[in-house]
Symmetry: C2
């Protein structure tokens, strides 16, 4: 889940799932390994467009981009991902919010 760059623009309409979270202190190694595994798994899902991630201290934001809301829902229901979501609630997150959004307009600046 390391971002060395930010995602390019895609063609609206598409779906952005905004995941904001506050971590517990628990199991930093296990959490990081699961995040990396989920990143690799998401990339292989149908309709995956890209992902942006940043964490500053306990607060993290991940935005995943999908072609359709059905693609986003299929990722949420993925069996391995569902198990990691369960571990997240049990151990790794104090709080999180998930917002499923339709991207309507977008623009970019590059130096």
């Amino acid at each position: 889940m390391k971002a060395i760059d930010i995602s390019p623009l895609f063609e609206p309409p598409y779906v952005a799932v905004v995941f904001t979270s506050i971590r517990t202190e628990a199991e930093p190694g296990e959490y990081a390994a699961a995040a990396e595994r989920m990143d690799a798994l998401a990339r292989r899902q149908p309709g995956y467009l890209g992902m942006d991630h940043a964490r500053a201290g306990d607060v993290g934001i991940t935005v995943a981009y999908w072609r359709t809301s059905e693609d986003a829902a299929a990722w949420k229901a993925n069996v391995e991902h569902a198990e990691v979501q369960r571990l997240g609630r049990e151990r790794w997150y104090r709080s999180y919010r998930v917002r499923v959004c339709r991207v309507e307009r977008e623009y970019a600046f590059d130096r």
Copy 2:
């Protein structure tokens, strides 16, 4: 722009503006001061709901929540904000993307 917590849920439909960016190395102090000023200014705008922010190294994600797309557009057009956007392109950002999104569904977990 320091996040000590994450925004609560609001009532869809509302607007999320997802701003992903890569910083230059330029003027960390000026950039931080402008970010803090913009945060305070945004809070006084009509339709402002909340904001989440995280930066990991050069990559930053800010998500601002607005009641309507007109509210988001009014903030983009705010005179002082427009000047800071100009400085951002000139000095502080290597790249950024802005995605204007309609939040359609949301859910939360709290321990």
